[in-house]
């Protein structure tokens, strides 16, 4: 019989090993799943994880990797602030949409004016849009004690409806012959989040994601606010005793994570996506939850986890077109990853002991 025995303190070794173990188990089980779908598991895994990086068309996929990873990392860094403090913002998808709407809205308001200040204004608007959407659950939680999990999630559906309304109404391209969707910002130089170095995939969102990683790293290792966030998450009563103001912390965490998600949305709409449209959001806000956990809520971990999940997106599309693997399989694959991570996580805090049945 296996017994769990609590470790005196969390194992550092397993803190590093569990995410890798989870990835390996997911690949094995995922391979079995692909086999069950009638695909060659080795080929499927290679198509997803190897080819985009080192295959024939890697020159095309590698920049794509950064493009997909940037929003995931940006959002996950924001989420990790709250998750560490025990504040559960699971509505990043909605904040991402609102950031995109606000950013694109500001950009389109200036159309067709060309000016250097337009893009910075869009960045600010994007952050503010996400921030405002994140502050709603924050204010309701601090003011009325409303559960932020449910409110932030409900707001995703509200944001999706607003997105549809905007794509079909206010922001619709007047020259679009009645098709839904806004003007394409890629064709509006002042508002276009173009590649900084052509062919690398590096746009301003990638830069912002890297800055966010560094910012979060310093916050958690060197700054009082990072310490207070960790304290509030691990021992709320001790945090209160130490003088942490829980309401302020809630607002800071939800506001910041909303702003980062909003930025991600803004960089996406003004760059890779190009326009506001009904199907603009593709679930980055939810996948970022997996990224945050897989990265152990650690900035560097999130950076790596973001790249890995971006790889599954790209590899998944690859496998879809080359092997006919359903898109849903990748979605499930990502869910499995979080599952196995949580399961093997027990090793970080507990020791497994084999015990023979007690003879009494």
């Amino acid at each position: 019989m296996i017994q769990l025995e609590k470790r005196p303190q969390p194992s550092r070794l397993w803190t590093f090993l569990t995410p890798m173990l989870a990835v390996v188990i997911t690949m094995i089980v995922g391979g079995a799943l692909f086999a069950a779908l009638g695909k060659n598991p080795v080929e499927a895994i290679r198509t997803i994880f190897w080819d985009p990086l080192f295959g024939e068309f890697a020159f095309y996929y590698r920049p794509q990797l950064l493009v997909k990873a940037a929003p995931l990392i940006l959002i996950a860094i924001g989420l990790s602030l709250g998750f560490k403090a025990g504040i559960w913002n699971i509505g990043a998808e909605g904040q991402y949409i609102m950031g995109a709407l606000a950013g694109a809205g500001v950009g389109l308001a200036f159309y067709p004016l060309e000016a250097a200040y337009i893009f910075p204004l869009m960045v600010i608007a994007g952050a503010l849009g996400g921030w405002a959407w994140g502050m709603i659950p924050g204010l309701l939680k601090t003011r009325f004690g409303t559960n932020e999990i449910l409110v932030s999630l409900m707001l995703v559906y509200v944001a999706e409806q607003l997105l549809a309304k905007m794509a079909l109404g206010l922001l619709r391209n007047p020259d679009g012959r009645g098709f839904p969707g806004s003007r394409n910002l890629q064709q509006y130089p002042s508002a276009h989040n173009a590649e900084i170095i052509a062919g690398t995939g590096i746009h301003w969102g990638v830069v912002a994601a890297l800055i966010a990683v560094i910012f979060a790293y310093i916050l958690f290792t060197r700054h009082l606010l990072g310490y207070q966030i960790r304290l509030a998450g691990q021992a709320p009563k001790a945090a209160r005793f130490a003088g942490v103001n829980p309401a302020r912390l809630t607002l800071v965490c939800l506001g910041l994570s909303g702003a980062l998600a909003g930025l991600a949305g803004m960089f996406e709409v003004s760059g890779p996506a190009g326009q506001i449209n009904i199907d603009f959001n593709v679930g980055y806000g939810f996948t970022a939850i997996i990224v945050a956990f897989l990265g152990r809520l650690h900035p560097v971990g999130i950076l790596l986890a973001g790249l890995l999940l971006a790889l599954t997106f790209i590899g998944g599309e690859n496998a879809e077109s080359n092997l006919g693997l359903p898109a849903a399989a990748i979605q499930m694959f990502q869910g499995m990853l979080l599952f196995f991570l949580l399961a093997v996580d027990v090793l970080t805090n507990f020791r497994l002991r084999w015990k023979t049945a007690e003879v009494v």
């Binding site: 769990l4 609590k6 559960w88 699971i90 309701l140 009325f144 004690g145 409303t146 559960n147 999990i149 449910l150 409110v151 999630l153 409900m154 707001l155 559906y157 509200v158 409806q161 607003l162 549809a164 309304k165 079909l168 109404g169 939810f286 939850i289 997996i290 956990f293 359903p326 898109a327 849903a328 399989a329 990748i330 979605q331 499930m332 694959f333 990502q334 869910g335 499995m336 979080l338 599952f339 949580l342 399961a343 996580d345 027990v346 805090n349 507990f350």
Partner: protein
């Protein structure tokens, strides 16, 4: 705009139908939460139930078998959650989210090839005399078996929780798992059973969506119903009877906004579509003034450290 096209009798009858999926899911989650476990994976279990029920019903031609499969599917997914949170002692919030993300992916995968098919119809039960009553007949007495089953479940859950020893033990585990353990109750076993029950109920709720309410399979068709069910439990202050009231309220809102859309009211469709979610938030805000009724051990991990 033509409001006269809305028939109040039909509206009430479809309210009952619309409320059934969230009623089932919320009742299951109520039992889980009363046992002290917060399972945020309702959405994932519901959609898994929706596709399991749909696929099996289509293949066997029997909605009845479909519903059984849905309950099993929901419970199977819940079992994963139980293993994670009760045996591997994982964080319940994170595990619930994982369950939802996983369930959405799994259902989309299982649902390949079932899009655009009609499921076998679930028969309405005709009750002599009662079904023929004006107004009351169509509103209350001409539904399918699941509607009545859901109503019976409300009464059963209430009775078991408040009037039986099993219910007392379940509530005790949810209030203070340490004390329950000290008295010799099997906290983990009881919680796992509660989680499985919750999963089965969510599965049934999902299948009701795909087999009766819509009836069709589309990816992501639960569209937040599972989360609304979670909100319902808070709204109901963890009381079975109030879950029914809440389900009718939400069912009523969603039916009404659909009817208003169909009637071509001047309010844009998108605003009508977001109304159930906004009202959920509003209700949560009103109800959150009173936190006292939440089970005291809700969401806390239990490990018998001898």
């Amino acid at each position: 705009m033509d409001l006269s096209s809305i028939n109040p009798t039909l509206l009430l009858a479809s309210l009952i139908v619309a409320s059934t999926p969230i009623l089932l899911a919320a009742l299951g989650e109520l039992v889980v939460e009363r046992a002290g476990v917060l399972n945020l994976g309702v959405e994932g279990m519901m959609i898994t139930g929706a596709i399991c029920g749909f696929a099996i019903a289509v293949n066997t031609g029997s909605p009845f078998v479909g519903f059984i499969a849905a309950a099993l599917g929901g419970a199977a997914l819940a079992l994963l959650f139980a293993i994670l949170t009760q045996l591997a002692l994982a964080n319940q919030v994170a595990s619930g989210l994982a369950l939802t993300l996983f369930g959405l992916g799994l259902s989309a995968l299982l649902g390949q090839g079932y899009q655009g098919i009609k499921p076998p119809p679930t028969a309405n039960i005709k009750i002599p005399v009662l079904s023929d009553l004006p107004v009351l007949g169509p509103v209350l007495f001409s539904h399918d078996l699941m509607v009545y089953l859901a109503l019976a479940l409300v009464a059963t859950v209430w009775f078991v929780l408040n009037r039986t020893r099993a219910g007392l033990i379940l509530r005790a585990v949810g209030e203070n798992h340490g004390a329950a353990h000290a008295l010799g109750y099997k906290v983990i076993r009881i919680r796992i059973l509660a989680i499985l029950f919750g999963g089965a109920c969510a599965g049934l709720g999902g299948a009701y969506l795909s087999l009766v309410r819509v009836p069709q399979w589309t990816e992501g068709m639960t569209a937040g119903s599972g989360w609304i069910a979670l909100a319902l439990v808070v709204f109901a202050s963890w009381k079975a009877g109030r879950v029914l009231l809440g389900a009718w309220l939400f069912g009523g809102i969603s039916v009404l906004q659909l009817n208003l859309q169909a009637a071509g009211v001047a309010i844009p469709v998108e605003y009508l579509s977001m109304s159930p979610y906004l009202i959920t938030i509003l209700v949560l805000v009103i109800m959150s003034a009173d936190k006292s009724r939440a089970p005291a051990s809700l969401g806390r991990t239990f490990h018998a450290s001898d």
